[in-house]
Every structure is written in C-alpha cells, then in structure tokens.
Symmetry: C2
Amino acid sequence: MQNIFTKLSSDPGCNARTGYIDLPHGRVQTPVFMPVGTNATVKAVSKDSLETIGFTIILANTYHLFLRPGHELIRQAGGLHGFTGWKGNFLTDSGGFQVFSLAPFRKVHDNGVKFQSHIDGSKHELSPELAVDVQMAFGSDVFMQLDVCTEFGATEKQSLKALELTTAWAKRSKDRWENTRDGFDGKLFGIVQGNFYRDLRKRSAAEISELDLPGIAIGGLSVGESFPVFEEYLAFTASLLPTDKPRYVMGIGTPDYMLAAVEHGVDMFDCVYPTRTARNGLLFTADGPIAIKHAKHASDFSAVDAECPCAVCKQYTRAYLRHLYKCDEILFSMLASYHNLAFLHALMHGIRNSIEAGRFLEYKRSFLSRYQGKKEGDTV
Amino acid sequence: MQNIFTKLSSDPGCNARTGYIDLPHGRVQTPVFMPVGTNATVKAVSKDSLETIGFTIILANTYHLFLRPGHELIRQAGGLHGFTGWKGNFLTDSGGFQVFSLAPFRKVHDNGVKFQSHIDGSKHELSPELAVDVQMAFGSDVFMQLDVCTEFGATEKQSLKALELTTAWAKRSKDRWENTRDGFDGKLFGIVQGNFYRDLRKRSAAEISELDLPGIAIGGLSVGESFPVFEEYLAFTASLLPTDKPRYVMGIGTPDYMLAAVEHGVDMFDCVYPTRTARNGLLFTADGPIAIKHAKHASDFSAVDAECPCAVCKQYTRAYLRHLYKCDEILFSMLASYHNLAFLHALMHGIRNSIEAGRFLEYKRSFLSRYQGKKEGDTV
C-alpha cells in the first residue's frame, strides 16, 4: 500500500510525533484536530473562515448525508468538494457510529446494519460495500470502513463478535474500494475495536494492521469509560499499531484528551465539542473555559483570551459577545465557534512545536496546569 | 444648520436624485439602503461582511439597546462603534416605534412615553430628552427625535394630537442636543407625521422643516395602508420638504417600495425585510424572489442569481443552500442574509447609475417587470 504518512520528528520523552499526511486535497500537518461538519458544513463557520484559521481537513458525517441530501445528489454535485466549495480535505466516517447513537432502531447482521432514520423514520440498510460506495460518491479524501462499536461495559463475548465483524467488514471494504476505485484517490482507514479487553485489542490491531490500509483508527474509545481507562487503552492500542501509518482517534476534542492522545502517538482527532460548546456559550481561554453568560463579563471590555491571535479576540470584547449571547444573536454562534476552533488550531500548532523541540511533556504539563488549574467555576 | 447633503444629479423624468451625505464615520452615497442591526448586529452577518458588500451605514434600534445592554454600558464601551467594532456609520431610531409595536403596555403623555419591556416586563419611560441622551451615549452618526406614530385608520383628531406632540418633541430634542452636544458630532433628524391627512402632512412638514435640522424623515408610512396610498402620501410629503437635506423613509426595504421612494426624491431607507426573509428561506433574484425550500431547487447546481456578483452567488449553488436550509444549518442564515443584502446593495448601485444617466424610470420599469413579472409562485 502506498505510504501517505511521513514522520518529521519524535519526542524523546514519550510517543508524541509530528509529521504530515499527503491527501488528494493537500498536505495535512500532524498532530491535527479536524472540525466536524456533520451536514457538510461546520456549524456557524464558513469554509472561508476555516481556511483563514488554517484548517486543511474537516469531517462530514456519512449517516446524516446519506439520509439527507443523499449520496447520489452529492455525487452529481461533484462530491463534497463540489457541493460545499471546501478546497481542503474531507474525512468522512462510515455512518456506523451514528446508526448506533442516533437511529431509533437498528439491527446488526453479518452483511451490515438495518436502521431507521432519526429524521423521518424511513428504513435503510448500510453494508460495508455501500458505506464505501457512499463515501466514494462523496469524493472523501479519507474514508472509514463500516465497523461495529461496543459500549463501555459490553461483555467479552459481545466485544469479540463486534471485533470479528469489524475485521470481516474491513476486508470487504478494502475489496470494494480496490475493485471500484477507478480514478478515485481517497484513502480507506480501518478501525481497531476490542472494547476494554487487552487480548481483543491486540487481536483487532493485528488483524487490521495486516490489511495494510493507508491509515488506522482506534475505535471504541470515549464511549463512557473514565479518563484513566480511556488513556490506558489508548496507549495500549496505539503501541500495537504500525509506526508508518497515520493513527486516528475518533470523537475526541477536549484539550486533555487530545494531549493524552498525542502523548501516546496519535496523529488525528475530531470532535463536535469546540463548536457545540461555543453555541452553548462556553469559550476556551488559556486559563480555562469561560461561560460568557456570567454577569462578570457584562462590562469586561477585554478579549475572550488576550493571548489568542484569532480574528475574534482581535476585534471583539467579552462584553459584546455576552450581549450577543443574551440576545440569542446568530453572530454569537459565528464568533464563538470561530474562536473555539482557532483556539484548538493554535493548540495543535503549539503541540507540534513542542514535539519538534523535544519538550512535549513540559508543554502538556504547563498548558494543562493553566487550563485546568485556574478554573473560574464557569459551567454552562 | 451645517449642510450634510450634497446633491450630485437629478433625473429629468421624476424627482429621483443622487448625492452623498457626509457623516462622522464617512461619506454615504445616496439613495442608500441601510441594513438593520437591531441588537447592535445585523442578524447573521458580520461587520466584515457588511464592509465587503460595501455598506457605509447601518441601523441599530434604541428601544432594544436601551433595554439590553443599556446605554450606559454602550457609552463605557466607546459607543456603538467601540461596542461592535463597526467602522462605518450608525443610524439609530428613537425607540418610539418599537415602544408602540413591541411593548406590551405603553402610555403617551406630554413629556414622553411610559412602557413595559417586552423582555422582562420591567417599567421604563422615554422622553424626548432621554431619547437624545441615549443616542448620544451610543455615539450615533444619525439619530432620530422621539415621535408619535399613528396607525392607518387613525382619526384626524388623533393624528393631529400625534403631530403636535411630534413637533413639540422635535424642538425639545433639538434643544437637548444643542445644549449637551459638546464634542459629539452626530446629526439629529426630525420626523414628519400627519397620518393620511394632507393638511396635517403639510403642517407637520412645515413645522419640522422650520427647525432646520440636518435631515428629515417621513414617518407614519407603511403602517397598514395599501401601496397606492403609501405612494400618494410619500410623494406628497416628499414634495413639501427642503431639497438641500437628506430625506429618509423608515422601515421600507422591498424593491417596489424603495423604487417608489427613490422616484419621489427619497434618499435613505432601512428595513429588516432582506435579512428576515433570508432566514425564512426567501432569496432575491433579478427574476423575483425564490423559496429555496422548494423541491425544484434540490439538484439545481446553479447560483441563486447567475447575474449577482456577490460572494455567495460566486461560490454556492441553490442545491447546497437548500440542503443547508432543510438541515436548519446556521450557515444558511449567514449565506442567505449576505446574498439578500448584497442584492439590495447592487440594486441601489443600479438605481444611482440610472439616475446619473437620466434613465431612472426606464430602469425602474425594467427591473420591476422582471422582478414581479416572472414570479415563480414561491412563497414562504
């Protein structure tokens, strides 16, 4: 398999590494945080703003777009790039995770999963092959195999069954991709499952690695377990993966989780957290998140984060943002989402620099001690 | 009184004219459409986007900002300019119109109006002097006297009473402004009332003109009357006003009303119409407005308006906008509002050019025949 990942540097104190991934719509510096654009738009942020912040890859959700507007329409539009105008890379998930978390009904069988739409109750079926077809219609730069995720607390037997299906579906996904790719240049990633059983993680990692796909995701984490358990299984699973492929942990976006993932050698993450919390009034700062609704911000004419170089912090005050929030103004969601994404983008930049300087653990300690230490007690 | 209006050209076929108004935050070409930013933001459109489109003046609503966040906070922030970062001009209304249309309770007396907040039911009072003080705290470039507006169907006696109060309050507003202005360079506009009684309109126009304020608004129109009645009283009232001051008609923003106003010599208008209808899915095109939700746009990969040079029409398709609308995505409101404002801005540009070329009536006829003639039957 063609190698898409190039390692640039490793931190001597841990498994953190920098590098880049070459994808059809450009090079992506890693470690990278990827904003989520569920319905083919990052909520309240234009593609131009994403480009201004510096993002080179964003997500879209196959489950949502498969149901609405449908992959045939997106294919007609010239894929997600033609449909949305975004010139960077798209990563799409397989739809499996949302089938499990959003659909009011679903049934897994050997050939795929039957489910009902959460929008209108209509019935659908997704197979490993269809998940590939749909994502190829999207023109995704990175696309994921359909997998079976288990919850925290699943039995070993349930977890084994999910793992076996996931491996079988990975093979079927690879076959479908190789037999139909034609000019399509997107990269299929496999997914390691195994719940919180070391033997199963080991087996899944070996089986997925064996397929020699362009990249590998660590699935089945952040599904209800505590942070120490998350970190233990993240570190363990990452250590089992080949070093010459990008490693992706799906669905994490808080600084502590991302820093832990980077420490253990993960290159890619995504999460709705920065944009969802933004819309709810939580804004990131180096001293921890602030809840903009609090009265103490009413006449605070300073920036959200005085050290943040983003366009929002350069132009707007906490007082104005609080006013917009209190008035339910759309501009609040626009500015807050922009800032939170820019903050995480800057964090990834700081992380990469610290790894290159061989001081990642010091950077992590120092960032978290400020971010978590000086809590204002703000919650939303 | 210092003259702020310079006439550049008149159309030989009607009373349409072009010119410019010099205001503290820059020159404004007329005729001009002014977007409305009720809560100190145009809904779903950033100040940077407004500047990109080319707007040089926007509105904010005194009633809303007086109640939340309050004029003292805005004064502390450096006025509306410091609070919002908008570098162009602000026009603020006096709050009177919203007191009449939004407050659940109000009582007019000789010294002003008592009312309850529509937000929390709290009790407030607005006098002509306080309306001036509040707008001076805002640092408004153009600010309006407190007036008393009557509805279509008001009796002559009611209309006379409202007119007399409006004139008395205009004088008191002027006194307050002249006695407290200090370094403040904003311009007070008076308002002509008189309902749909020619004698009253005549008397009000004479009394307000007599005060020699920097500009004059024609109030009490678009309050429930038919279009022919609107146009008749607009034309009649405008003909009574001095030619060397800007004339402003409040609350109109549909192309047909604006074109009628321009024809009769009006220079300024404002309305929430383009942004409100945008959020509801109605998009302006040269061939009339379209309701983006209609199924016929689902796989239409052309621009909203192929002739529109705005950033939205250059970058996005009807199919993508419809998808965003169906998904309730904030980006839809952002793009739709931007387009509708850019469309009206371009219309004003076309209007000014046609007046300079002495062909306004031809332009109006041609624009309306396309805009109104080829209705797609779209409604929202």
